[in-house]
């Protein structure tokens, strides 16, 4: 089937299989490899992107449902070599180790803090709880999330 999706502010027309996931469209059709595949089963959160303002797991999101949807991936977060506040926060809080979970976390927080810059700590926890990180022990990721929120508020 034919389909148009707006990805990182550009229109793309695809012909897709009904079974294709958004993740496979991003990675295999467009080589947007910043979005990671950790499980393809909706369990790890590494594939998280923002669709119409909401964080979704792209591995379990069918592409066919996304006609005219606006998708933001990690490649669309920073522009002209300038990092987004969330990205800065991940660096400053040492929330990156192997980095495989990182784009997913950043997109999750992007959706959350865009919608509600004043999100309560519990909401932040709830959002991050959907993701798995095997390296950091989570503490640095929480630290990064709170730092990002502070940066966004102060900007």
């Amino acid at each position: 089937m034919e389909l148009t999706i707006i990805i990182n502010k550009k229109d793309y027309a695809f012909s897709v299989d009904p079974s294709d996931s958004l993740l496979s469209i991003l990675r295999e059709h467009l080589s947007l490899t910043g979005t990671k595949n950790g499980c393809s089963q909706g369990h790890c959160g590494a594939c998280t992107v923002v669709v119409n303002g909401k964080a979704v797991k792209s591995c379990i999101t069918k592409a066919k449902k996304l006609e005219n949807a606006e998708v933001l991936t990690i490649e669309g977060v920073s522009s002209n070599f300038i990092l987004h506040a969330i990205q800065e926060a991940f660096i400053e809080a040492t929330a990156v180790q192997c980095g495989f979970c990182t784009p997913g976390y950043i997109m999750e927080l992007y959706a959350l803090l865009q919608a509600d810059p004043d999100a309560e700590k519990e909401e932040i926890h709830k959002a991050l709880e959907k993701h798995l990180c095997r390296c950091t022990g989570y503490q640095p990721i929480i630290d990064a999330a709170l730092l990002a929120q502070e940066k966004i508020k102060n900007s």
């Binding site: 990156v96 979970c101 990182t102 709880e129």
Partner: protein, 777 residues
């Protein structure tokens, strides 16, 4: 001397962070090549069987399919086995399968979908055999033989199998009068313990891409911690006589934890690619395949007995550990060895009688996993010391303090402990002091509150001649490229190694670039990135290369001035002699006089660090020299919900004698990450097989690794710094260590407050609740 000499010991940001937060860091599945075919495999689905036949003709005719093959169709036989210790496995099954995840057929096709469709059209006829998963049953007389050829496989002399059994390796360590271990004991305690099979669960699945070019050279990209081991194994397997004809490339790794060390899927992917010369063949495991078809970790059942005097002085230890190492033993050998001699923990025993067995079973093969044979023994001894303290009526902490290894004591291997090995008593007392800063609430209606602290020790397990080597070049602008075969798998090596170089050279750390991509054609030899040794071994190689660079600058200046080398001073920007100086830029390509002629050489050096004095185990006594140790201690405050059995970690304290912390934020990250892995092992993680011998824990829900909500309410990390004399700036290994203590310390805290003694993990919420209920009756 000026500036830039303070970067060691500071938390500079990670060198790779920018690439990783922007999604531009490339991992194996992100690599794109022309003419790429996809590979998919058919796995046995039965744990132990003879392959009667495999029908692949239908699959070959499917659209997009280039090749379909089986072990038989390629005429593989006993001359097609590979390994590093025991050569007991082929790239795929030949006439027998030994675990349900074993690969029996491979399809190479244009697309993944086509490959999967073809896989569905392969029929296998098996003659099923009885299977066995329990390592103690597997050593019994009645047990089905998993490898009829056990004993006939090629193996290195140190790993001796027992033919006609499932034991592929038996290690026996004897210290002192080992036949009368408890002669002087006034009291003994003993118990049986179990540490289940686990999965590393790095968030990045394993992947590899292989291509054979038109001259017959092999190019392989892999998510591997061990490029040079791969090169050796592949050269041997494919009979490639010259290593220059093998090109191994390693991109960023999305976590390893030992699960990507040695080798996993690489020989098979290379074999597949050989059938379609010129094409790149790509194989990335699904999450399920990571569980059933890469390597697992641990899987120990054991018995331990301790003897002591009435005053608590330990006099002897006996332990027997059986490792369920799965279908193939090669990657398990050294784990069995390390587990054998390290199960005594950080305690002094005049007599030891320690046996460990590597046993074939019908699970996926088992290999390295963060801790490498140490967590199993640490678990047993720290649990058993609780029992001993109770029986003696002695304070738990006093019993430990009394028996921790002291300088001049000998460990189980007879090695003498020195002052410089670190201070475990300091680690332990600081752990307890830290816990005491927050009072533990008394039991109330809803919760029990428990506290405990344990000691830990780990030695890096590495081959006797393990080495790290680096190339260093100064560029014209005084930036520096350093090339190492050490793999950045998340631990932060790129950053820490740059700090070591910057401080040695007295130049800004931003001027140092450590390569992240490894290419065995360009990168100097590195044994493999395991054993927490990168900071130490590669760090030392870098210091040596940096010092040689400094000498070269001085040599160039000496030629100009005609002074003796020793009188010349280097400070990171210039070299000087009394009031004369030359800017480093004037010397970096050699010195050029105003008329153009040039003396001296461009600054280009190498550095090496070879493990010294490590020997092979003696076959009779088990004695040998491994490398030295890192001591530490861990403590916990936890609460147990009386109604639900839920265990919440309130405060987790880790104290390690790190020698010298090069980057505190990164070191802390190793601790929080390692502790969480240990908590997962204590409370959640266990590989489970069903009655058919198939694994049921094949996704990240059923195999539950810790989530954010499992995180302790508070982490404390304490670093003691007793310098390691041969470590870079005094540093010693710390990366695996934080994962060691959580199971024992958590179970000890549970026992102290509920009286319930668990001897196996994980203690899930359900298990805790059932035990609490049983206790009420």
């Amino acid at each position: 001397m000026k500036l830039f000499n303070k970067v060691v010991g500071t938390s500079i940001p990670r060198a790779d962070a920018h690439e990783k937060v922007t999604g531009t860091a490339l991992y194996i599945d992100d690599l794109r090549f022309p003419r790429t075919l996809k590979m998919k495999v058919l796995r046995a689905g039965v744990p132990h069987a003879i392959i009667n036949s495999i029908e692949i003709s239908k699959a070959i005719d499917m659209p997009g399919v280039h090749k379909v093959f089986t072990g038989k169709s390629l005429n593989l036989d006993k001359n097609h086995l590979f390994g590093t210790c025991i050569f007991d496995q082929a790239p795929l099954a030949i006439d027998k399968v030994r675990h349900a995840g074993e690969i029996v057929a491979v399809v190479i096709a244009e697309t993944e979908k086509q490959a999967l469709a073809a896989i569905k059209n392969i029929d296998v006829d098996f003659k099923e055999l009885p299977f066995i998963l329990d390592p103690i049953e597997a050593v019994g007389k009645e047990a089905p033989l998993i490898h009829e050829q056990n004993g006939k496989y090629h193996h290195v002399p140190t790993f001796v199998p027992e033919p006609q059994t499932n034991i592929f390796y038996k290690y026996h360590l004897k210290k002192g009068d080992y036949e009368h271990v408890f002669q002087d004991a006034e009291i003994t305690v003993e118990d049986n313990f179990e540490y289940p099979l686990m999965n590393h669960a790095a968030i990045e699945p394993h992947g590899a891409i292989a291509q054979w070019d038109h001259t017959g050279e092999l190019h392989l990209w892999s998510s591997s911690q061990a490029p040079f081991v791969l090169r050796e194994v592949l050269a041997d397997y494919f009979k490639i006589k010259q290593m220059i004809k093998i090109h191994i490339h390693i991109p960023y790794l999305g976590g390893g934890f030992g699960g990507k060390s040695d080798y996993t899927i690489e020989p098979l992917v290379a074999l597949a690619a050989q059938l379609v010369p010129g094409y790149h063949v790509k194989f990335v495991l699904t999450r399920k395949e990571v569980f059933i078809g890469s390597v697992l970790g641990r899987g120990m059942k054991g018995h331990m007995k301790l003897g002591a005097k009435k005053d608590g002085t330990l006099v002897g230890i006996e332990a027997t550990q059986y490792f369920s190492d799965g279908a193939y033993g090669d990657t398990g050998c050294n784990v069995v060895l390390a587990a054998g001699h390290n199960c005594v923990g950080p305690y002094f025993f005049p007599k030891c009688n320690l046996k460990s067995f590597g046993v074939y079973t019908n699970s996926a093969p088992v290999g390295a996993f963060r801790g490498y044979g140490h967590p199993e023994g640490q678990f047993m001894i720290e649990r058993l010391l609780e029992k001993l303290a109770l029986k003696l009526g002695m304070e738990y902490d006093d019993l430990r303090m009394k028996n921790f290894l002291r300088p001049a004591d000998t460990n189980s291997l007879g090695q003498i402990i020195n002052e410089h090995n670190g201070d475990i008593r300091k680690c332990f007392t600081q752990t307890i002091t830290k816990l005491n800063e927050i009072p533990l609430p008394p039991e109330d209606e809803s919760f029990f509150y428990g506290r405990a602290a344990v000691g830990l020790i780990k030695s890096p397990v590495q081959t006797a001649n393990a080495s790290s080597n680096v190339f260093l070049k100064f560029n014209e602008d005084l930036t520096v490229n350093i090339s190492t075969g050490g793999v950045e798998l998340g631990q932060g090596s790129l950053t820490v190694l740059a700090q070591i170089a910057a401080q040695t050279l007295h130049i800004p750390v931003s001027n140092i670039r450590i390569n992240y991509e490894i290419n065995t054609q360009l990168t100097p030899y590195e044994w493999q990135t395991v054993a927490s040794m990168t900071t130490m071994r590669v760090g030392n190689a870098i210091i040596s290369a940096c010092e040689k660079s400094i000498t070269q600058f001085k040599q160039n200046a000496a030629l100009v001035w005609d002074y003796a080398l020793n009188d010349i001073v280097y400070d990171g920007t210039k070299v000087s002699y009394q009031d004369r100086f030359l800017d480093l830029k004037e010397l970096v390509l050699g010195y050029q006089y105003s008329d153009g002629h040039t003396v001296g050489n461009p600054i280009l050096t190498t550095g090496s660090s070879v493990v010294r004095n490590v020997t092979f185990p003696d076959l009779e006594t088990g004695q040998y020299q491994p490398y030295e140790w890192t001591f530490g201690s861990q403590g916990v405050d936890l609460k147990i919900n009386k109604k639900t059995g839920e265990i919440t970690i309130l405060h987790f304290v880790t104290a390690l004698d790190a020698g010298k912390v090069i980057n505190p934020a990164l070191a802390r990250g190793q601790v929080t990450g390692g502790v969480m892995q240990g908590i997962g092992q204590a409370l959640k993680e266990k590989i489970v097989y069903d009655e058919s011998g198939n694994m049921t824990t094949t996704n990240l829900r059923r195999y539950a690794i810790p989530r954010l909500s499992d995180m302790p309410e508070k982490f404390s990390c304490i670093f003691i710094e007793t310098p390691q004399p041969d470590g870079p700036f005094g540093a010693r290994p710390i990366a695996e260590h934080p994962a060691l203590g959580p199971p024992s310390v958590i179970l000890n805290a549970i026992q102290r407050v509920t009286g319930i003694s668990f001897t196996s993990i994980p203690v899930t919420k359900e298990r805790m609740l059932n035990a609490l209920k049983a206790g009420e009756k």
